[in-house]
C-alpha cells in the first residue's frame, strides 16, 4: 500500500513534501493533469475537502511559479477547452546540459566566491551547484591565489538592484555632497561598482536629466513608485563614463607643467613625468615635465609633497600651490598675514 504521508510532521515539512510531490507529478506527466487527477496524485491534497484542496493548490501553483518553475496551464483536450489541466515541460524546467571544461568551472567557482561576503552569496553558490551538478573535477591551478572580493555594505543595494533589473521607478531620500537631504524620483538604469563603491545611474524625473547616485548616500529604504518595465534604458548607456564625469575623474591631459623634484621624493609625480635634461636643476633635484588635465588637481599633489617639489611653470600652478599652502599655514597658526 502507499506510504501515508505527513503524519506527525510539522506543517512546514508537510508543505515541502507536498510541493515536491506536485513538481514531480507535473514533470512526470505528458498530458496536462486535471485538478481531480492532481488531488489523487498528491497525498496531502486528498485529505481535506475539495474546497480546501482548491485553495491550497492555487497558492502552491503561485509559489512554484515564483521560484521560476514554468508551470503551464493548458486545455486537457484540444477540442474541448472547458477544463484546464496543468503540467511542467521538462525542457522548459531543466537547465540545458552544458559541458564545462575543468578550467571553465574553476573560473565559475572564482566568480561565485567573489560574492562570498556580499549580498548575492546565496544565489552565487546555488548557481554553481546547479552548473556543477555533474561533478566535473575542477582545475583550480589557473586561478590559484586570485581572489576578487566584492562587498555590498549598503542597505539600499537589494531594493536598487531589484529596481534596475525590473526597470521599476523608485523614490528615495538622498544626502548630497554638501550634506543636504533631498527627495529624489528616478528611473533606475544601472548599478555599478566603481573604485569599490556602488553607484546607481538613473534618469532623474524631477530634473529630467541623467544623474548618478552613490548608494552609501541613500537614506532609508528606496520605495517603488511605478510599474515594472514602464520605461526603457538607453541602449548606449555607459555607466562608468557617467560616474567618471560625476566624480570629476582626471580629464585628459591638456597642458604640461614643469616641476623640480627633490631626488628620492615625490615618487608618484616622478613616475608620471618625463625628465627635462635641458632644464637647469640645483644639485639633488631633477626637472621634469608632467602632462595634466587639471591644474587644481595637480596643485593638490604638489602641495602634498611640501618642500620636496617646486613649480617652474606655468605660473598659475605656482599661485595655486602658494595660495593653498598659505591657507594651511594660516589654519595652523602660521605667521602669514
Amino acid at each position: 500500500m502507499a506510504k501515508s504521508a505527513s503524519t506527525g510532521v510539522s506543517p512546514a515539512t508537510a508543505k515541502t513534501e507536498r510541493l515536491l510531490n506536485l513538481v514531480i507529478a507535473l514533470l512526470h506527466t505528458r498530458q496536462p493533469l486535471s485538478k481531480a487527477k492532481l488531488r489523487q496524485a498528491v497525498p496531502d491534497y486528498a485529505q481535506g475537502s475539495v474546497e480546501a484542496f482548491e485553495r491550497m493548490f492555487e497558492r502552491d501553483k503561485d509559489e512554484l511559479r515564483a521560484l521560476g518553475i514554468p508551470l503551464r496551464t493548458e486545455p486537457i483536450d484540444a477540442f474541448f477547452d472547458d477544463e484546464p489541466g496543468y503540467r511542467i515541460d521538462q525542457r522548459e524546467y531543466a537547465l540545458p546540459e552544458i559541458d564545462f571544461a575543468p578550467d571553465e568551472l574553476a573560473v565559475l567557482g572564482l566568480a561565485a566566491r567573489a560574492w562570498s561576503q556580499a549580498s548575492l552569496a546565496g544565489p552565487a553558490a546555488q548557481a554553481l551547484r546547479k552548473l556543477d551538478a555533474a561533478g566535473v573535477v575542477r582545475d583550480e591551478s589557473s586561478v590559484a591565489g586570485i581572489e576578487p572580493l566584492l562587498h555590498t555594505p549598503d542597505p539600499a543595494f537589494e531594493p536598487v538592484r531589484d529596481a534596475v533589473l525590473t526597470r521599476t521607478p523608485i523614490t528615495f531620500d538622498y544626502r548630497g555632497g554638501s550634506g543636504d537631504l533631498a527627495h529624489r524620483r528616478v528611473q533606475p538604469w544601472g548599478l555599478t561598482s566603481w573604485h569599490g563603491r556602488w553607484y546607481l545611474t538613473a534618469h532623474d524625473l524631477d530634473r529630467d536629466a541623467p544623474r548618478v547616485f552613490r548608494l552609501d548616500r541613500v537614506v532609508g529604504a528606496p520605495k517603488r513608485s511605478g510599474r515594472p518595465g514602464e520605461y526603457a534604458v538607453p541602449s548606449d548607456l555607459d555607466t562608468v563614463a557617467m560616474i567618471r564625469r560625476s566624480t570629476g575623474d582626471e580629464p585628459p591631459a591638456t597642458t604640461a607643467a614643469r616641476l623640480l623634484l627633490r631626488d628620492g621624493a615625490a615618487a608618484s609625480l616622478r613616475r608620471r613625468g618625463t625628465p627635462l635634461p635641458g632644464e637647469e636643476a640645483p644639485e639633488g633635484w631633477t626637472a621634469l615635465e608632467l602632462p595634466t588635465g587639471s591644474l587644481p588637481r595637480l596643485a593638490r599633489e604638489v602641495c602634498a609633497a611640501g618642500a620636496d617639489v617646486r613649480v617652474l611653470a606655468p605660473p598659475e600652478l605656482g599661485s595655486l600651490v602658494a595660495e593653498r599652502l598659505r591657507a594651511v599655514a594660516a589654519a595652523h597658526g602660521g605667521g602669514e598675514a
Binding site: 506510504k3 515541502t16 510541493l19 515536491l20 510531490n21 513538481v23 514531480i24 498528491v42 521560476g68 521538462q90 524546467y93 537547465l95 540545458p96 552544458i98 571553465e104 573560473v107 572564482l110 566568480a111 560574492w115 548575492l120 552565487a124 548557481a127 551547484r129 546547479k130 551538478a133 561533478g135 589557473s142 586561478v143 591565489g145 586570485i146 572580493l149 566584492l150 534596475v164 550634506g179 544601472g190 548599478l191 555599478t192 561598482s193 573604485h195 569599490g196 552609501d216 615625490a266 608618484s268 602641495c303 602634498a304 609633497a305 611640501g306 618642500a307 617639489v309 613649480v311 605656482g318 599661485s319 593653498r324 599652502l325 591657507a327 594651511v328 599655514a329 589654519a331 595652523h332 602660521g334
Partner: protein
C-alpha cells in the same frame, strides 16, 4: 539551519540538491553538508522528506530512494528531478557580473577560460541573463599586463619576487623581496599579499603602485604560521597603539571622514565635521593636510599642529609665487 527557511526556499534548495547528490552516490555525509552549505542534520532531514516523495500512486516503487547509512549518502529513483532547475535571475546575475569583471582584468585571470565559460553560461541562462548588463563591477586595471602576469607566475610557481614599490602614505619608492601568497581585489582595487622580507611581516601591495617586478630563481618560503589578517571591507586597519589625532574638516573636505577609518565622526549643522582617528605615520597625515589646502585643520595634538605649520612654511619657501594673489 540557524535561520528560518520557508517551505518554498527549502523546495528550491532541495531541487538543486537532488541532481547534485545523484551524481555523487556514496558521498560522505559531512562533505555533502559542507559543500551544500547546510548542517549534517539538515541534510538528513531533507533526505527524510525526499523518501516520502515520488511519482503519483506512491507505491514503494514510485518513491525516491534516499539513504545515509554509515554516513554515506545515496539518492535513487529520482529521474524526474535529476536535472537542476534553470538558473534564476539572481543566480545568473551573480556569476555573469563577476565573470565580466574578471574578463576585463588583463594579465590576472585566465581570459580565455572566462570567455568560454561566459558564452556557455549566457547561452544556458537564456532570459535569466537579461538585465545582467545593467549591473556592472569595474575592477581597477593593474597598470601593466606584463607586470601582472609576472606576479601570477610568482604565485603559481611559488617563487620569490623582487619589487620596486611606491608606498602611498610616504610617497617613497623602495625595493624589497616578497614571497607572494595571493592576489586579491578589495573594493575594486588589486593587491598582492605577501611575506615581505624587508619588513619581516605580512604586507599588502597595491598592484598599480608596483613599479617593476622580477621573478627570482629562489623559492618562496613564507613562514608556516602567518599572522591572522582578515580582509573585510577596506584594507586599512587602525591600531589602538597609534597616536590619536583630532581633525576639523571644512564641508568641502568632509569626504575625508568617509574615506578614512575614524574612531569618532561628529558632523555639524554647517556641513563641517570633527573627526578623531589613529595615525600610524605622521608623515602621511601631514601630506593629507597639505593636500586639502586649509580644508583640513589639525586640532590636537599640539606637536602635530606645529609639524603641519612647519611643513606648509617649508613648501611656501620653495613656491613663493611672487606677484601672485597677494
Amino acid at each position: 539551519m540557524a535561520t528560518y527557511e520557508s517551505a518554498t526556499s527549502r523546495v528550491s534548495r532541495m531541487l538543486t540538491m537532488v541532481p547534485w547528490l545523484v551524481h555523487r552516490q556514496g558521498i560522505d555525509l559531512a562533505t555533502a553538508a559542507a559543500e551544500l552549505g547546510v548542517s549534517e542534520s539538515q541534510v538528513v532531514e531533507d533526505l527524510q522528506v525526499l523518501f516520502l516523495c515520488g511519482l503519483p500512486g506512491h507505491y514503494p516503487d514510485d518513491l525516491i530512494e534516499a539513504s545515509w547509512e554509515g554516513g554515506r549518502v545515496f539518492v535513487g529513483n529520482a529521474d524526474t528531478i535529476a536535472r537542476p532547475l534553470r538558473l534564476g535571475r539572481d543566480e545568473a546575475l551573480a556569476l555573469i557580473v563577476a565573470l565580466r569583471a574578471l574578463a576585463a582584468t588583463p594579465g590576472l585571470a585566465e581570459r580565455e577560460a572566462i570567455d568560454r565559460a561566459l558564452a556557455k553560461l549566457e547561452g544556458a541562462a537564456g532570459d535569466s541573463a537579461e538585465g545582467a548588463g545593467q549591473v556592472r563591477v569595474d575592477l581597477d586595471q593593474p597598470v601593466d599586463d606584463e607586470l601582472a602576469a609576472r606576479v601570477r607566475t610568482g604565485l603559481s610557481e611559488q617563487r620569490r619576487l623582487h619589487l620596486r614599490y611606491t608606498s602611498a602614505s610616504r610617497d617613497e619608492t623602495t625595493e624589497r623581496d616578497v614571497d607572494p601568497l595571493r592576489v586579491l581585489s578589495v573594493d575594486g582595487r588589486w593587491y598582492l599579499e605577501g611575506w615581505c622580507h624587508r619588513a619581516a611581516d605580512l604586507r599588502l601591495f597595491r598592484l598599480d603602485r608596483i613599479e617593476s617586478v622580477e621573478v627570482l630563481d629562489q623559492a618562496a618560503t613564507p613562514p608556516d604560521e602567518l599572522p591572522e589578517r582578515p580582509v573585510g571591507s577596506g584594507v586599512y586597519r587602525p591600531d589602538p597603539h597609534d597616536q590619536s589625532v583630532v581633525l576639523d574638516l571644512a564641508p568641502g573636505s568632509a569626504w575625508v571622514a568617509e574615506q578614512i577609518p575614524a574612531e569618532e565622526v561628529s558632523p555639524r549643522d554647517d556641513g563641517s565635521v570633527r573627526m578623531t582617528l589613529r595615525v600610524a605615520d605622521p608623515h602621511w597625515l601631514v601630506r593629507l593636510v597639505l593636500r586639502e589646502g586649509g580644508g583640513v585643520r589639525v586640532v590636537e595634538p599640539a606637536a602635530m599642529v606645529d609639524e603641519v605649520r612647519e611643513a606648509a612654511a617649508a613648501g611656501l619657501a620653495g613656491n613663493p609665487a611672487e606677484g601672485a594673489d597677494r
